[in-house]
């Protein structure tokens, strides 16, 4: 069912996220569909406390982050065995509004296989268990963005 050579990319990087390149790397001859999520730095946020952001500073516990990205990919494959290629990428460092900061992409033979749900699950899990943090720098100073998920034993 699942050939051992299905491409799985997971990376924490300071480089620009290249969607074309990542998509090509997770496209197999049997692939007909890709669902891709990217997160970008918002320069203006209106939900909740409306505010303006000059830039975000991302940091990661890199070796653990890459292990947990691999775990997110493994969880996706367990839930959606039809998924072919997976890419999980987080850019770190100082990132300005409109810049893509993260990418989760899943490929499959067809679009009605759960491949959209798989990508959605991937970004949700990244924001729960992958050790990355961001500090928001705006006109009124800087503040760490606090997550709220407490991992459970075994996660």
């Amino acid at each position: 069912m699942q050939p051992a050579n299905l491409p799985t990319i997971f990376s924490v990087t300071e480089d620009e996220i290249d969607l074309n390149d990542l998509l090509a790397k997770i496209t197999l001859t049997s692939t007909g569909a890709a669902a891709i999520f990217t997160g970008m730095v918002r320069g203006e946020t209106s939900r909740g406390d409306a505010h303006v952001t000059d830039y975000l500073e991302y940091e990661a516990y890199i070796p653990m982050a890459e292990e947990k990205m691999k775990q997110v990919a493994d969880e996706i494959r367990a839930k959606w065995p039809i998924v072919e290629g997976i890419a999980v990428v987080q850019r770190i460092g100082r990132l300005y509004p409109k810049t893509p900061t993260t990418l989760i992409a899943c490929t499959a033979a067809h679009r009605d296989t759960g491949v959209f749900d798989a990508a959605r699950y991937g970004i949700d899990r990244l924001k729960e268990i992958v050790p990355i943090w961001k500090k928001e720098i705006g006109p009124d100073g800087s503040e760490w963005v606090e997550g709220d998920y407490i991992p459970k034993p075994g996660e």
């Binding site: 516990y61 050790p131 990355i132 943090w133 997550g147 998920y149």
Partner: protein, 82 residues
């Protein structure tokens, strides 16, 4: 005694004022006991303790876990990547 390396990230690093330290701890020390010891040494960590996450060798670890020799321990707040 066990030798361990400690890593601090994000708000926890800001509060502790250090990025990483190495220390010796008694054998069989639990994560809970290590947390109490750290609060003794870095009182500013106290107010983060209710939400701090800890890991042993890059896996999430909980109060009752025993810290092995040569462990890489990390302390950080709930993650906020993406």
């Amino acid at each position: 005694m066990n030798h361990i390396k400690l890593l601090f990230f994000a708000t926890i690093r800001d509060r502790a004022g250090v990025k990483s330290i190495e220390m010796d701890i008694p054998a069989e020390m639990t994560i809970h006991e290590l947390k109490e010891k750290l609060v003794g040494e870095y009182p500013a960590l106290k107010e983060s303790l209710h939400s701090v996450l800890m890991t042993i060798n890059r896996e999430y670890a909980f109060d009752e876990a025993v810290v092995p020799n040569n462990a890489e321990i990390a302390l950080f707040p709930p993650v906020s990547g993406g």
